[in-house]
């Protein structure tokens, strides 16, 4: 097997594992193709199973012949291994480095993982677009399923099936796709039954510097308005950024060409700015020697809560357009794969009771993140400890989960799931035995044949025995729109993800679950 070449030393004895708040454990360290395992070979002593793909960065230190490897994980954990023998230590370190940065997706653990549980419901088929559309089709006939992207030819990042206005034919869609960034023509994201208004999303229009227009694009989005009514376009970039985008062929909808639409700019940060924010935040959280002033100024300088506030504010604005102004909304930023999805999905959390249930939230992630083409593979390749600056990493999905957590804290009885559910999703987005978050789009997932070759996260999580851990016992369904407060005084630091390794659980309250408690089959 190819992994054997990468593993220079598969086994070292007398290794000591250090973790915060736990006594040190001495045992045997084993490296497999996908796991780092430390076993004390004693009963009742916890073993460490760590996925290589969860490793974000490692540091080496030597004192005499005793080597120390500090492993920093993508879920922010930091563990330390003391390894006797310099050569063994160096071998282990370089093996881990190689195994945690495999280039080929098909070498990742999900392709080797064999479930030890009985699959009751195959998660790959739990949330098919046709089924989701049924929820709407009974309420409105204004929308239809389109298979125009069946071969991923019109838009490589869209799923094969999308929901579009009934009156717009596939030919028009093809034309509109040429006018929108990445071919991402406006599609339905959410239909609000009460007000009969919709949320749509797309890529930016390619107006360029000379103000190009596209009649079909105008026709498409106007088709979603009733006569005489108006809609809102929420651009998730500041006006300044949107204007600059014109120089690169992008741009925004000109008022003259879209007279029925009011455009509002909401500035949500993207890419490296978010990544740096996370790095700074985790760095601040990890240093416990900070005095009060330094901690507060570091927390402020990370800007993390500012990003949370911006995203939540934009989502509230959208929800407000739908529920209070009774107007339809089109949302886009540049590509329409990051901030756009944060806003559309959070607006649904606020507006739609179904999305606050476990099933509904899973469907939301499936629809608004996975099928909508959020590039998980790129965004989650590295986490807070990466020192190589790559362009594509960004904690976009983590920010979304954090926003959901903020709303959950303010409406603790309105969600069927609990905080553990959100933490579980965060962990699996970065490292998982399941194929769900692999790839950057539906087309990539199809090429990888994930449905045939890997297990879906939903198959595992939707087992009744697993769900009990993620269910909120205080849940009482309500059909209300839940408006969160976005004041700085109301926003909190999500301790159980960011600080969990520094806070000793004193009382029995909410202890963090181990990320992968499932038995795993070795692939050797």
């Amino acid at each position: 097997m190819e992994f054997a070449e990468l593993i220079k030393t598969p086994r070292v004895d007398n290794v000591v594992l250090h973790r915060p708040f736990y006594p040190a454990v001495e045992g045997t360290l084993c490296l497999t193709g996908h796991h780092l395992i430390l076993s004390s070979r004693q009963d009742n002593t916890e073993e460490l199973w760590l996925l290589h793909s969860n490793i974000d960065a490692i540091d080496k230190r030597f004192v005499g012949s005793l080597g120390t490897i500090i492993i920093k994980c993508k879920d922010f954990r930091i563990i330390q291994l003391d390894i006797p023998g310099m050569e063994e230590c160096l071998n282990i370190a370089s093996s881990i480095e190689a195994l945690s940065t495999l280039d080929s997706i098909t070498l990742m653990y999900p392709f080797f993982y064999r479930p030890m549980f009985e699959v009751i419901e195959d998660g790959w088929h739990s949330f098919l677009p046709e089924q989701e559309f049924k929820l709407y089709s009974s309420a409105t006939s204004q929308w239809r399923l389109s298979y125009v992207n069946k071969e991923f030819a019109v838009c490589p990042t869209y799923p094969p099936i999308v929901i579009v206005p009934e009156s717009i034919d596939d030919e028009t869609l093809r034309k509109v796709a040429t006018f929108r960034h990445g071919g991402r023509f406006p599609v339905l994201s959410y239909y609000h039954q009460k007000s009969k208004r919709v949320i749509m999303r797309s890529g930016q229009p390619l107006t360029g510097t000379n103000g190009r227009r596209c009649k079909e694009d105008e026709k498409l989005i106007n088709a979603t308005l009733r006569a005489g009514s108006r809609g809102y376009i929420i651009d998730t970039r500041s006006l300044n950024v949107a204007q600059q985008a014109r120089a690169k062929g992008g741009g925004f909808e000109q008022e003259a060409h879209y007279p029925q639409w009011r455009r509002i700019h909401k500035s949500i940060e993207r890419y490296h700015i978010l990544q740096e924010s996370l790095i700074k935040l985790v760095e601040a959280c990890n240093d416990q020697t900070h005095n009060m002033d330094r901690w507060l100024s570091k927390l402020e300088a990370s800007n993390w809560l500012t990003h949370i506030k911006e995203i939540l504010t934009a989502a509230c604005l959208v929800a407000q357009c739908i529920d209070r102004e009774e107007a339809s909304v089109l949302i886009h930023g540049t590509e329409g794969t990051d901030s756009t999805l944060q806003v559309t999905s959070l607006a649904q959390i606020i507006l739609e009771p179904r999305s606050r249930t476990i099933r509904g939230f899973e469907a939301l992630i499936e629809r608004e993140w996975l099928q909508a083409g959020h590039p998980f593979q790129q965004r989650c390749a590295q986490s807070a400890y990466c020192n190589t600056k790559q362009k594509w990493e960004a904690p976009v999905f983590l920010l979304f989960l954090d926003c959901v957590w903020q709303i959950l804290r303010q409406f603790p009885c309105s969600f069927e799931f609990n905080e553990n559910f959100l933490i579980m999703l965060f962990e699996h987005a970065y490292a998982s035995q399941f194929g769900t978050f692999l790839g950057n789009s539906e087309s990539e997932r199809c090429k990888l044949k994930l449905q045939q070759k890997t297990m879906s996260l939903w198959s595992w999580v939707n087992q009744p025995s697993k769900l009990s851990k993620y269910t909120n016992p205080l849940f009482e369904a309500n059909n209300l729109v839940i408006w969160p407060s976005v004041a700085p005084q109301s926003l909190l630091l999500w301790e159980d993800t960011l600080l969990s390794f520094h806070l000793l659980p004193r009382d029995d309250a909410a202890q963090r679950p181990s990320p992968d408690a499932d038995p795993v089959l070795l692939d050797f």
Binding site: R294, S297, L305, F411, N478, D507
Partner: protein, 621 residues
């Protein structure tokens, strides 16, 4: 009464403090002898006690009327607009007079009448008995005895009559020591740890200057040290920053010289003085009150106010005390300058960490009675009960409550009481509705005859106990545990429910606490019902033959169940604690303030569609 010129003003607007669109409620403002009352068009009442008013401000006249901003000591801020300037001026003047009384006798407590007779009132005052409390701690004993030295307040006016000192300390030693201590506040027992036989003692700074000594004081400290049979040294903790203590030496005061006292270990812990604390809170409130506050401004304001730094300093000092006793088995003597502010904070918090009794509702009352009220924390001056020196006002007690709140956050199961209890106590240190916190020391309280003329707060809190119970409290697992809080900076958070108590829009809309409380109540009720039914079955079994029973049982149980059901539903609705009833889930009410916060765009009048965003309109035409 003579201060009230206008008793009622109509068409007054109440502005929302944080709304960006000047949304308001219109209603009628009433001025009574004790309260300012606003009733809005939805008949919702806002009561403001005159004594709660910290400041009244009349802003410049606007087109809609004359703005009147009232800041309260419980951190409520209301912003009225009174249509006629003349009315506004009258109310303003009246409130200025009514909120600042010159005499104790004019305070609310002297007119407040909860319809109790004299014996009930007296019983109320006897609810907390400090002699009992010292007995509970295990004093007097072979090392500590009750001293009658201050029986007539002759040695120290600001101490209580009953004081506990080492039995080896003779009266001459006490008198000598008291002359060497600021305001005569010589070292006395505050808390005795029975298992460790170690004590927390308190006093004021010594009048040591640069070199003065006092043999009696040295002997008293030695006696305290020797009263602990296990450990031969004791800590002397000066809660001030070293620089402040050194500066005091120039004024003939200062701190203990380790060389002059046998077997003491001297330690500064660096808590700032009342003036620093006052301006720190002031800064914090200024930041919080900003409309449209950004996250960065909030955190940089929180940082520059220094508030959480001060809270952490108090907490760290208390932890030092607890560790000295638990780990080193050493007694501790605590002082600051006069020994009634920082010393009270640190002694009471230290005892609370050590002794689970103080984490119960009644125990917490005892703790406040002991370390704050009896030892002469100057409540009236610190809370500004009377029209006095504003430089004496300081949030020392508020800080203590906040430290306790931080502990409840870190140890959610260790406290019998909940946050509402702390907030309610805070409300009443300023309300002047009860006698407990009036005056600055016990002697003054006796002179005011508070026990004859006013009521005690504690029985009223106990009566409402249900509201203040922590549903997560587990008395068994925490009974003997010493709390060891983690004071890493990120464990200190802004106490939103205190400083924004009345800003409903900032709080969670659903309360887990309330739900758990209600569930507990329901469970209790159901358990009681089961017992009732079981006993009925038993009765019937005894009375009747078996074959009648089977028929009758169905009949006897069923008619009751519908009423049972309705009564439960009814209870669930009414049992929500009062201050939370407004925070229940709020979805579609148009009065919801949050609606306007997200985008100012919508707050402009609707027809002005084109001007939605000026920038956009300009550049796209």
């Amino acid at each position: 009464m003579e201060h009230i010129r206008t008793t009622k003003v109509e068409q007054v607007k109440l502005l929302d403090r944080f709304a960006t669109n000047n949304k308001s409620l219109t209603g009628t403002l009433y001025l009574t002898a004790t309260h300012l009352l606003f009733i809005d068009s939805l008949q919702k009442e806002t009561w403001i006690l005159h004594h709660h008013i910290a400041s009244v401000e009349k802003l410049a006249l606007t087109t809609s009327g004359c703005p009147l901003v009232i800041q309260c000591k419980n951190f409520r801020i209301v912003h009225f607009i009174v249509p006629r300037e003349r009315d506004c001026h009258d109310i303003y003047n009246s409130l200025l007079q009514l909120s600042k009384q010159a005499k104790y006798e004019d305070l609310y407590a002297f007119s407040y009448n909860p319809k109790q007779n004299d014996s009930e009132r007296l019983q109320g005052w006897q609810l907390i008995d400090l002699a009992e409390e010292y007995k509970r701690m295990g004093v007097p004993n072979s090392h500590w005895e009750l001293s009658d030295a201050n029986q007539e307040y002759k040695i120290c006016e600001t101490y209580p009559r009953e004081l506990y000192v080492p039995w080896t300390a003779k009266k001459t030693v006490i008198v000598g020591s008291s002359k060497f201590r600021s305001k005569g506040r010589f070292p006395v027992l505050s808390y005795y740890h029975q298992d460790k036989k170690a004590a927390i003692c308190r006093c004021s700074q010594p009048l040591s200057g640069f070199s003065a000594r006092c043999m009696e004081d040295e002997r008293l400290l030695e006696a305290i040290s020797k009263a602990n049979p296990v450990n031969c040294y004791m800590y002397v903790v000066d809660t001030r920053p070293k620089l402040n203590a050194m500066a005091n030496r120039a004024a003939g005061k200062g701190y203990e010289n380790e060389d002059n006292y046998s077997s003491i270990r001297f330690q500064f812990v660096g808590i700032e003085n009342i003036h620093v604390m006052r301006s720190s809170l002031q800064k914090l409130l200024e930041v919080n009150g900003t409309k449209g506050l950004s996250v960065n401004d909030f955190y940089s304001g929180l940082e520059s106010s220094g508030w959480l730094r001060h809270i952490k300093a108090v907490m760290d000092a208390a932890i030092f005390l607890a560790r000295a006793i638990m780990v080193e088995n050493a007694s501790v003597l605590v002082h600051c300058s006069d020994g009634w502010d920082r010393t009270s904070q640190v002694c009471s918090l230290g005892s609370l960490l050590l002794d689970s009794y103080y984490r119960t509702i009644r125990g917490f009352m005892v703790l406040i009675e002991k370390d704050w009220i009896s030892f002469g924390h100057k409540f009236s001056e610190r809370c500004g009960h009377l029209d006095g020196d504003p430089k004496e006002v300081s949030p020392v007690f508020t800080q203590f409550l906040e430290c306790v709140w931080h502990l409840t956050e870190q140890f959610p199961q260790a406290f019998e009481f909940n946050e509402a209890f702390l907030l309610q106590i805070h409300e009443h240190i300023h309300s002047c509705q009860f006698g407990n916190f009036l005056g600055n020391c016990q002697k003054e309280r006796e002179e005011l005859k508070l026990k004859e003329k006013t009521y005690s707060l504690w029985p009223f809190l106990l009566e409402d106990q249900k509201k203040y119970l922590n549903p997560l409290y587990s008395s068994k697992s925490h009974r003997f545990i010493v709390l060891e809080p983690n004071t890493v900076s990120f464990n200190f958070k802004f106490w939103r429910n205190m400083y924004h108590q009345f800003d409903q829009t900032l709080h969670p809309r659903q309360s887990v606490f309330n739900i758990i409380m209600n569930m507990n109540e329901q469970n209790k009720q159901l358990e009681k019902d089961i017992k009732d039914l079981e006993s009925k079955i038993k009765q019937r079994k005894n009375k009747q033959t078996d074959d009648i029973l089977t028929k009758e049982l169905l009949h006897s149980v069923h008619p009751e169940s519908p009423t049972l059901k309705t009564s439960l539903c009814f209870k669930e609705q009414t049992r929500l604690p009062v201050n939370d009833s407004l925070r229940t889930i709020e979805g579609s009410s148009p009065a919801d303030n949050r609606y306007s916060e997200y985008a100012e765009e919508f707050s402009k009048s609707e027809p002005a569609v084109v001007s939605l965003e000026y920038g956009v309109a300009r550049m796209t035409c």
